[in-house]
């Protein structure tokens, strides 16, 4: 097999005794921790296995036991309690781990659904099945599926929606490294683009311990002591570990963080050797040599080897002999060796993955942890003569590429070896990073509001432990990884200190409902483009400095305007120069800002459902709607600005807080005054000669009607602009207006632009003279488009206050991307955050500076699953009757209540149940089939998404419903299926069926 550049380890998740996650595992390894403890009482009673001298038998009293091996967040995966309880806990642990491993690879697990991702799980033996399937009276379909080894991998594929190969691998203790080997092969052959590989092991019964004991391989103290003079055999242990693998070139292209690179793997067999359970030196040597060859590595280049190292006299001797003959040759420094089994014990089916994760982390952190018990090295191994060195203290790896080896051997003679290299480093920077990343949006999602709060707390703690840095990179990673679950949280932050504070506040204060947003649909956004009057010197300069996207689009607008205005509007804006927004540059400057804001939002994935432009705002609106090109609009706006500015002096505009009816009489008396804009029921703008307007203002003041001189340079939107209309029309003559791609609500017509109406030269000429019918256009927009959000596109809010007084539906929210002179990247980010909370899925990458998105992604804490449900030793409703244990007095880990006969339905009936006996029957039947608590089976609960029903459960449900509703008569599954959307729809259907039956 051609390894090419190799296979990158891009995601890791694991849990081992006394190490609940990857960080804790690494910490345990670095401090040389000991994870061995007493056997938990719920597993078995060691006293029931006395040795000849009366003491507990070696290896049966102690071992490595996983904390919370019975915990399962079944609701997260929509697995009914009954099924959860029937599932081998190894399957459950893998589901948690799979989710977190994918997250660690910088990918939202939901986004891989439907992909051909492969799953390869090493798992040894089938203790769960042996413990449960022997009792034939208790056999259920759930228990059948729950006890199959193949299901360990298949469940992951099912739950995460992976359609690639999915298989369990059992080669005894080498299972999980063989699983990795198969996964690597699937990547290299092109069968998969992403692979999840690893293993799991739980010590559910003393059976294998008894086997080790009889073989003389069980350590008296339950501890493996690899390569130590004290080594006396195996101590059994538990764990789960998965890695996400990608071809190195794909991982680099996708900017994933790379822990290490698998450069070569090999698997072989002892064949007909010295007994089926005995190790074989020559085969071991062969498998190591083959892996090195495939990796293109000479054994002498290997800096350290994570050995199988079970700590049995024979096993250690043979392994050292095999390693020494290869790695000891032709090198100045001895090859360092060690084994994690000294810390954890032998995790059997998960042993290979425990080693692989240790090696990957060692290459990543560039420190190889010491091997426990190395200080009492077994002299008979003659390590020094063999060119090997047992790691008595951690080894700091030198800078530059490092190669490591990893062995895992199975009792039946299937051997595996992997050669790993440190991750490739980007070339050293030739310039320093100087960009000051702006604000980002930190996103977090969960399956329930409570879960969101739990995860917020964990993220807050993790962020608070980091040194203070800009938050953008962390935010960007949260957008890539922590999106996709139903309940959404989003907060804008500039640095990690601010972020930690915001997360903590969200987690601690307020009700979950205030933090968690569950959108059911996407928001519908309308863009309102601001007209003249909103301009000010230096507008959006802060945003330009902080947003790369805005920079790009304002630069484009500036470049488009440059040929027509002969100066850089952008430069004047950035300099805060008054000239940039005065005279004939006013309109071009407003246009540039509006165009850039709209283009920025559109690039973020905020595509308007409608656009509306107030007066000069219609040009940027027309570009956004695809009617005009940027260049056409730039040309037009520059010409319009110049022409309007060139109008004779003496014109003015007056804003009046009154409706047009109240002004009619006044206007009739003043032929030189006109209505210029109808902005709302009590917002009217007049245009005309300064004298006429002054007289009107005086009258209004006497009538105590508020009026304000707009300081306009001319009487826009009135017949006073007629002298320049011909020139405006001819300037617009060269444009070729296209049909809008987005509905345009014209403020010239005060309504949706009809299909036959074109924004051509005549339109633009008439638009400049006729009144701005903003209120009518906005009302039509609301009627036709029913937007959820109005976003004003301009340098400060001008139209939103008008819209606020226009009596729109109260559910419409108002947003502004640049709400004033102080606004910068934070305000823009907050707008995106707000829309995300209400259901928008923005193109997050565009929100960030290219320096940020070029990085390989910060590490984020994995999802924190609920620990509320335990299925093993503490089922939800413990069964009182205990099966009297036959000799030996082991208490088999028995999933009690949910597998046994269902408990009587609780007496706490919701009100609706009293009113509707059919609904009550459905709820009871559903609760019984899934072993759900009654309160979880609500009217709106969906069978597939919320309750995790499958075909088996539907059959069971039909039986139970028929038993409860004897009058129902014959109902076929085919009839039932369409009604199986939610508990409520099923009850409704059955109710109708019953009525029909009565009628018949």
């Amino acid at each position: 097999m051609a390894y090419g550049d190799g296979v990158a380890i891009v995601g890791i998740d694991c849990a081992f005794p006394l190490a609940r996650d990857t960080d804790a595992y690494w910490e345990l390894l670095l401090r040389g921790g000991d994870a061995i403890g007493d056997v938990p009482t719920e597993r078995w009673d060691p006293a029931a296995f006395p040795a000849a001298d009366g003491a507990a038998r070696a290896g049966l009293a102690r071992g490595g036991f996983l904390d919370g091996a019975d915990v399962f967040d079944n609701d997260f995966f929509s697995v009914p309690p009954r099924e959860a309880a029937a599932m081998d806990p190894q399957q459950r642990l893998l589901l948690h781990s799979a989710w977190r491993a994918v997250e660690d690879s910088g990918v939202a697990p939901g986004s891989l659904a439907g992909s051909g991702t492969g799953v390869y799980v090493g798992v040894m033996g089938g203790e769960w099945g042996r413990l449960h399937l022997g009792d034939y009276d208790r056999v259920t379909p759930q228990l059948g599926a729950g006890s199959s080894a193949g299901m360990t991998a298949n469940r992951i594929s099912y739950q995460l929606g992976f359609t690639g190969p999915s298989m369990a691998v059992d080669t005894a203790c080498s299972s999980s490294l063989v699983a990795v080997h198969l996964g690597v092969g699937a990547l290299l052959s092109g069968e998969c683009d992403t692979v999840l590989a690893g293993g799991v092991n739980l010590v559910m019964s003393p059976a294998l311990g008894l086997v080790y004991h009889q073989l003389g391989l069980a350590a008296a103290d339950g501890r493996c002591k690899p390569f130590s003079a004290l080594a006396d055999g195996i101590g059994r242990s538990e764990g789960v570990g998965l890695v996400v693998l990608r071809r190195l070139s794909d991982a680099v292209a996708d900017g994933q963080r790379i822990y290490a690179v698998i450069r070569g793997t090999a698997v072989n067999q002892d064949g007909r050797s010295n007994g089926i359970t005995a190790p074989n030196r020559w085969s071991q040597e062969q498998v190591v040599a083959t892996a090195c060859k495939r990796a293109g590595v000479e054994p002498r280049e290997v800096t350290f080897v994570e050995a199988h190292g079970t700590g049995t006299a024979l096993g250690d001797t043979i392994e050292c002999a095999a390693l020494g003959s290869l790695h000891g040759e032709g090198r100045a420094e001895p090859c360092a060796i060690g084994s994690v089994k000294g810390n954890l014990g032998h995790t059997e089916g998960a042993a290979g993955i425990a080693g692989l994760i240790k090696v990957a982390l060692a290459l990543h952190h560039r420190i190889v942890p010491a091997s426990r018990f190395a200080d009492r090295e077994n002299p008979q191994l003659r390590l020094a003569q063999r060119g090997l060195r047992l790691l008595k203290s951690p080894l700091r790896l030198p800078p530059g590429p490092v190669v490591a080896g990893l062995s895992s051997f199975g009792m039946g003679g299937t051997n595996a070896h992997a050669v790993l290299g440190s991750a490739p480093r980007p070339a050293p920077r030739t310039t320093a990073k100087r960009a000051r990343p702006g604000a980002g949006v930190f996103t977090l999602t969960a399956d329930t509001p409570g879960a969101l709060i739990r995860n917020l707390t964990e993220q807050a703690d993790a962020v608070a432990r980091r040194p203070r840095t800009a938050a953008a990179a962390l935010c960007r990673q949260s957008n890539r990884v922590k999106t996709g679950l139903p309940y959404r949280f989003a907060v804008t932050a500039r640095d990690t200190e601010e972020l930690a504070g915001a997360l903590r506040e969200a987690a601690a204060g307020g009700l979950p409902e205030q933090v968690a947003h569950r959108p059911w649909s996407r928001p519908s956004v309308a863009f309102l483009f601001t007209g003249q009057g909103a301009q000010y010197a230096g507008m959006t300069a802060g945003l330009y400095r902080e947003s790369a996207a805005y920079r790009q689009h304002l630069d484009a607008a500036d470049a488009a305007l440059l040929p027509y205005v002969d100066t850089s509007v952008r430069d004047l804006l950035l300099a805060g120069d008054e000239r940039g927004v005065a005279g004939d540059l006013t309109q071009p400057a407003l246009f540039a800002v509006a165009y850039a804001l709209a283009a920025t939002l559109t690039a973020f994935g905020i595509r308007p459902a409608a656009v509306l432009g107030h007066s000069v705002g219609e040009f940027a609106a027309a570009v956004t709607a695809g009617v005009l090109t940027l260049d056409e609009a730039a040309h037009l706006v520059a010409a319009r600005g110049r022409l309007m500015h060139g109008l004779p002096e003496g014109g003015a505009m007056l804003s009046v807080q009154a409706g047009p009816d109240a002004l009619r009489q006044l206007l009739a008396e003043e032929p030189q005054a006109h209505i210029a804009a109808l902005n709302g029921p009590r917002d009217t703008v007049l245009s005309g000669t300064a004298e006429a307007l002054a007289r009107i203002a005086e009258t209004l003041e006497e009538a105590q009607v508020r009026a304000r001189d707009l300081q306009a340079p001319a009487a826009f939107h009135s017949p006073l602009v007629r002298p320049v209309l011909d020139r405006l029309r001819s300037a617009a003559g060269s444009t070729e207006p296209r049909t809008p791609e987005i509905p345009v609500f014209s403020t010239r017509y005060g309504r949706l632009l009809a299909d036959t109406e074109r924004m051509d030269a005549d339109y633009w000429a008439a638009q400049a003279e006729s009144p701005v019918l903003f209120a009518d256009a906005l009302a039509d927009l609301e009627t036709v488009c029913a937007p959820t959000h109005l976003v004003e596109i301009g340098p400060r809010p001008q139209l939103l206050p008008l819209a606020g007084r226009a009596g729109l539906a109260t559910s419409v929210e108002f947003l502004h991307p640049a709400p004033g002179p102080e606004a910068g990247g934070s305000e823009l980010a907050e707008l995106v955050a707000q829309l995300y909370r209400t259901g928008l899925d923005p193109d997050w990458e565009r929100l960030y500076d290219p320096e940020v998105t070029a990085g390989s992604g910060e590490k984020l804490r994995g999802y924190s699953f609920s620990t509320a449900h335990r299925y093993w030793t503490a089922p939800p409703a413990p069964r009182t009757e205990q099966v009297p244990a036959a000799r030996p007095a082991a208490t088999p880990p028995r999933p009690t209540s949910p597998l046994a006969e269902p408990a009587e339905p609780a007496t706490t009936d919701p009100v609706s149940r009293d009113r509707d006996p059919v609904l009550a029957a459905v709820i009871d039947a559903v609760a019984e089939v899934g072993s759900y608590p009654l309160e979880q089976v609500v009217h709106s609960a969906r069978f597939y998404e919320d309750l995790g029903f499958d075909s088996v459960m539907i059959m069971q449900l039909k039986d139970r419903i028929e038993a409860r509703l004897p009058h129902l008569g014959e109902v076929s599954v085919q009839q039932l299926l369409p009604a199986l959307r939610s508990v409520g729809t099923l009850a409704q259907f059955l109710g109708g069926h019953l009525t029909e039956g009565v009628r018949a």
Binding site: P428, A432, R465, T469
Partner: protein
Amino acid sequence: MSATAYLAATGSALPGPPVDNATLGRALGVSEEWVDIFVGTRTRHFGWDLETGQVRHTLADLCAQAGGAAIDAAGLDPVDIEFVLLATATPDTLLPTTASEVADRLGLMYLPAFQIQSGCAGAVQALDLGRTLIAGGARAGLVIGGDVTHRHLDPHRDVARVPTEELVNYVLFGDGAGAAVLTAEPVAERVAVRGVLNRFTGLGRPPGQTVDWYGISDRHSERPMLVEDYKAIEESVPTMAREILWELLDQLEWTPDDLDFLLPPQLSGRMTERITEHLDVPGAKEVSCVAETGNTGNALVLLQLARLLPDLPTGGRALAIAVESSKWIKTGLGLEKV
């Protein structure tokens, strides 16, 4: 010294918003004008609340922030860092050292992490030591300098009764940290450390500055925590600075005309102006920070470097001078971008 060390990047940390003289004047009950005229420092930062005295940013917080920023700006990973040197006069605790706390925050492990007890000369002293570690084979290391004031300035002190020489402390100092990544090869900013001067010259001289601390035995002592002999400082520092300038120029065989930038000692806005004038290198552009940051002790030179590096062109030369008046320590750096 055989191998050249390079400054790859810098980072800085200044807590909270800048505190201007008006705000400080109000808190202390002194006139803003007085601060402006006599000290010439416009703003400074405090990691503690000016009203309540509550500490919001420890020295380790600031040093980790600056260090992390420097590593990131250099385009390196924390695992590339092979030593941590931290200079301070105001560690959070005597043990563990703030250097080890910072290593922990930055995720650094299995490397030398130690501390230099120093003042205004600390940053150069740490760079001097870092240079020897690079010469000894290290590829990259982190040099940090920082100080905090919360133990030496009392927000509850009745300032009306504070003598002027002590009141000056309140307007002179600020909290902050600066960091630089030193590398064996030119990467990122690619600024070669061409020369370092580091001389104790206080033989037989009384200290110009004393920063004291109390323990169990003397916790009720009335002696001041922070004392400066301003007369001696005003008299000596300009001369010492000039000597440092010329000694470094001679050592590097540079002339004043070779200098594109000059980083003068940062005592206070006013003092720095006076010293710079006295140094008289009109061709070199001054890079100072004290008027905005206040006197941040061990952070100063590193904060100046953070301002210098973006402006230093390839081939450009800069000279930094720092004088520690505690026991009269002369330090300086000669830098050249390659």
